[in-house]
Amino acid sequence: MVLLKIENLTAGVAQKEIIKNFSLTINAGEVHAIMGPNGAGKSTLSYVLAGKSDYEVTSGKAWLNGQDLLQMKPEERANAGLFLSMQYPVAIPGVSVSNFLKHAVNAKRKYAGLPELDAAEFLKLLRSAAKELGISAEMLKREINVGFSGGEKKRMEILQMSLLKPQLAILDEADSGLDIDALRVVAEGVNKLRTADNALLIITHHNDLLDLIKPDFVHIYADGHIVRSGDANLALELEQSGYKSFLEEV
């Protein structure tokens, strides 16, 4: 089943084209990795797909589960099953992790026509999900992303992912700023969430995370589009030869 289909997408920010004629299809059960050098516009791709307001699509199409993704508001895309684990999760002072997540979970339930969870039901769900990821109850009371370390932030993103159960999760540099232990926790968390019905799109510029979450497809991204696709071996090849050799092919 096709989860995400992107066709000849051209988009950018502040009237600068960054994504150029980009195409990609992701099926349920697959793990895709997009690898590219720093500054290639990988994060732009994730923002465009998630619908961040400053980003403008000039041409091309995209579908999430057959729905016209580009016509949807950011919250609709989220509720329809698209999750973006952000490279720099933002702090919201005064709003606790549990309160924030309750809003998010119930927004999604409402969208799906399900009754909202009350405080007790939600807390039960939250605590068990947090436990799986080794997140303490104390942590859930803290203001979201306020004073969190890099590792805590990323773990919190994965906690949100585990509660929202997206069909398509985009992990934008989920490994940046993490030491090897934290990286392992994040990867284990993500692996636990994998099913035959959902899919992952991992955006990264190096291999560490891909050693822990095995991709089915690896795409090399440069100059706004995919310059080469392959299987997991492509990542290894890239590790040995660097981006330069691939870029020269273009």
């Binding site: 005064g94 709003v95 309750k102 809003h103």
Partner: protein, 482 residues
């Protein structure tokens, strides 16, 4: 959470939900203000001579005063002769209990969400004194409170039944010479609440008054007096609404609080007077003087206010810390949207030794509104060991609103420690996007971010009130993001 969803639904189709006008016959006085009008009001209210004389003294003094113009507010001048200074719902006799109250009045309160009948029957936890235009209509729970010696009634009744108490304390915290609007209020005040907590009594329930302006062209000049004797405690809630009208309505109230040895008063306000429409037409002019005197040692006053309404707000609930070791607190959330203007803050006057004060002010501006925090921390020469902590945070939504902070500090004691922190921030696109990416719609996201911003203040409100206030915040900010 269900609540949150309900709020959003409400958001979608409502503007100022309290904008209804109750059609009941009102007993009024002619337009305008002169000594005869004051005499007429006093006669209608069967007042004692001393009070009439006090009113007339205030009126004569008021004639010598001019409106203050130092606040950062811009509005059409009020024509004080075009106002009506008294409007009472017309009734043959004063009601003895709720059954005697005009049913359409009770219906109004039901729309406001304070079903008096129900409350009395259910023997809940809140005693409500409802002030409709100018006369206090019904006071619930009075009997139960009376058992402990607590007096909770309209100030008109207190003038008749407890004249000694009223005469002793009326104007003792806010003298009629205090300021232009306070002086006017002293001359023409029509009703308000009176609370007396005797020595050693802890009031067993939250006392609550709902104010509502109804009749056309009436100014509401209510006057509240709260006295907490030694070792007593009371928590008082005040909620305000006004029907939607095109013309501006004037509201100039006074709240006086006297706190004696070891006593504590907590005063919470949710102010939701009609703010005017999105083009700035209509709305209430809210010129209010609120002040508490901590006269006794170890006494404490805590003001908490959530201000979302009024076209113009001019309000500085203050604490006069006379008693040694007395404490004053001010927690405020003020929200302005569209063309609302608010100049609000507090005064902490440290007179006693080791007096402490805390100011937490959160201002949220949206639309074309303008908001100023104006506060004074004043430490007298003898106030050894005085301490103040002030924190003033402003949050801007959009780029057409304004926010200003004007903290005055006057310190004449070297041992005093004063701290002031201030921040100004905007709801960032990043924060909004983060919420939206988690499925939370823009309006709800703004509500969530704002509630986080106000958390320190909201957690000081009594539970029931906090829910109400959170709803109001959401409603007030409707349409503030694209």
């Amino acid at each position: 959470m269900a609540k949150q969803a309900k709020i959003l639904e409400e958001l979608a189709n409502e503007k100022y939900k309290y904008g209804f006008i109750t059609d009941i016959e009102a007993d009024t006085v002619p337009l305008g203000l002169n000594e005869d009008i004051i005499r007429l009001i006093s006669t209608k209210k069967n007042e004692p001579q001393w009070l009439l004389e006090w009113r007339l003294k205030a009126y004569r003094h008021w004639l010598t005063m001019t409106e203050p113009h130092w606040a950062k507010l811009n509005f059409e001048p009020v024509d004080f002769q075009a106002l009506r200074y008294y409007a009472a719902p017309k009734q043959k006799v004063r009601p003895k209990n709720l059954n005697e109250v005009d049913p359409s009045l009770l219906e109004t309160y039901n729309k406001l969400g304070i079903p008096l009948k129900e409350q009395e029957a259910l023997a809940g936890v809140v005693a409500v004194d409802a002030v409709f235009d100018s006369v206090s209509v019904a006071t619930t729970y009075r009997a139960k409170l009376k058992e402990q010696g607590i007096i909770f009634c309209s100030i008109s009744e207190a003038i008749k039944e407890h004249p000694d108490l009223v005469q002793k304390y009326l104007g003792s915290v806010v003298p009629y010479t205090d300021n232009f609007y306070a002086c006017l209020n002293s001359a023409v005040f029509t009703d308000g609440s009176f609370v007396f907590i005797p020595k050693g009594v802890r009031c067993p329930m939250e006392l609550s008054t709902y104010f509502r302006i109804n009749a056309k062209g009436t100014g509401q000049f209510e006057r509240t007096l709260i006295i907490a004797e030694d070792d007593s405690y009371v928590s008082y809630l005040e909620g305000c609404t006004a029907p939607q009208r095109d013309e501006n309505q004037l509201h100039a109230a006074i709240v006086e609080i006297v706190v004696l040895n070891n006593a504590e008063v907590k005063y919470s306000t949710v102010q939701n007077w009609y703010p005017g429409d999105e083009n700035g037409k209509g709305g209430v002019y809210n010129f209010v003087t609120k002040r508490a005197a901590c006269r006794g040692a170890n006494s404490k006053i805590s003001w908490t206010q959530v201000e979302t309404g009024s076209a113009i707000t001019w309000k500085y609930p203050s604490c006069v810390l006379q008693g040694d070791n007395s404490i004053g607190e001010f927690y405020s959330v003020a929200i302005t949207h569209h063309h609302q203007q608010a100049d609000t803050g507090t005064k902490m006057i440290h007179l006693g030794r080791n007096t402490r004060s805390k100011i937490i002010s959160k201002g949220i501006s949206a639309g074309y509104s303008n908001q100023t925090y104006r506060g004074l921390v004043d430490v007298a020469k003898q106030a050894n060991g005085a301490r103040n902590y002030s924190q003033c945070d402003s949050l801007l939504i959009g780029s057409t609103c304004g926010s200003h902070t004007v903290p005055y500090v006057r310190n004449r004691n070297k041992s005093a420690i004063l701290e002031h922190e201030a921040t100004t921030s905007k709801i960032s696109d990043e924060q909004l996007f983060y919420c939206q990416q988690r499925g939370i719609g823009a309006e709800e996201a703004v509500g969530l971010i704002v509630s986080g911003f106000c958390k320190e203040v909201m957690q000081n409100l009594p539970m029931e009130f906090a829910i109400e206030a959170a709803k109001l915040i959401n409603i007030s900010l409707e349409g503030s993001v694209g």
